[in-house]
Symmetry: C2
Subunit: 196 residues, 2 copies
């Protein structure tokens, strides 16, 4: 006999997101999550096949959130401003929602599923801006440098790894500025003149 559902995948993901944002993915229990959507734990298995698949769905949603923030930030202003805005938006998100940020960038049993990593938009936007910034050569390496710096900084900040004091905001801006300057500045000599 058909029944009126008391919950839905969307509601489950939304509540899971809220609970994870508050206490981290590790602390998410299916009993608490089920209660949050007005149901008992076993019912969740009618909508998701496992706890892990719920986490994956939340990560996917967060990834899209972060991506749209980065895209919004990238749009405005001149080239250098746009590039910096993408990086700043990522760091800001990591500061505002450390648990959600960690969820997106953790391999959570990601051996099999290589995670269609942000798959698309912000990466494409970054490549477009970066190509205009540094020319077509070494854009892939350049993007990896910029993204690695931004992610590494956000993660170390998150785990309180910057213990020597100083102005952490200033350090981020310093790093960002130097990275962009290094990318624009040309390489080991070769095609250095192409850009000046």
């Amino acid at each position: 006999m058909p029944t009126v559902p008391k919950t839905s995948p969307e509601a489950i993901v939304e509540q899971a997101r809220r609970l994870i944002a508050r206490s981290g993915a590790e602390a998410l229990s299916l009993q608490v999550l089920a209660a949050a959507v007005g149901v008992k734990a076993p019912s969740l298995y009618k909508h998701f096949e496992s706890r892990a698949s719920i986490l994956r769905a939340v990560a996917e949603k967060v990834r899209r959130d972060l991506a749209s923030r980065q895209l919004g930030a990238a749009a405005k202003g001149p080239l250098e401003v746009g590039l910096k805005a993408i990086a700043r938006a990522q760091r800001e998100y990591a500061r505002e929602e450390p648990h959600l940020y960690a969820l997106v960038f953790s391999p959570g049993d990601a051996e099999a599923a290589p995670v269609d990593h942000q798959g698309s938009q912000p990466l494409e936007a970054l490549f477009a801006l970066l190509t205009r910034w540094m020319g077509p050569a070494h854009v892939l390496e350049g993007a990896r440098l910029l993204v690695a710096f931004t992610h590494g900084f956000a993660m170390m900040e998150r785990s309180h790894a910057f213990q020597l004091g100083g102005d952490v905001d200033a350090a981020f801006e310093f790093g960002l500025d130097r990275v962009l300057r290094a990318l624009r500045g040309g390489g080991s000599g070769r095609r250095a003149k192409a850009r000046r």
Copy 2:
């Protein structure tokens, strides 16, 4: 009545390290760990106050391992080679022991305990080399740039975030090279002449 101990904190940490290296910290169960040191799970509480404290001890040990590797790598060769060696050693460790690397750089309930983060040697060595490389100004920011890039690269590599193909090794070397060049290259104009 005194008894002959069947295990020790050292043995527990060593076996925990071995098990975590194989399957990750998340999968470490006290029953399995206890069996590995020839004891039952409750006995572990005679040596450590909780599972979390065992993880902390392992992280501490791994941190020292990594530090000594970095120090060894830093010693040889000219300035630039030493600086690159510190970064390369970190990335190599992350590739060889991804689970152990993640353990060290995860905040594992680190709200209260700010983690005496690598506390000392490799950081001091990095500062010394970096000061010789770029002069005394902005060394803290410079170190943060270098460390954030290295850590971020290692973490993204670990979570299979570099999906666009290309030569990942080359991208790391590219980034490392540009970062060092950017640091030596001087800032927004000001004390740029001091170094050339």
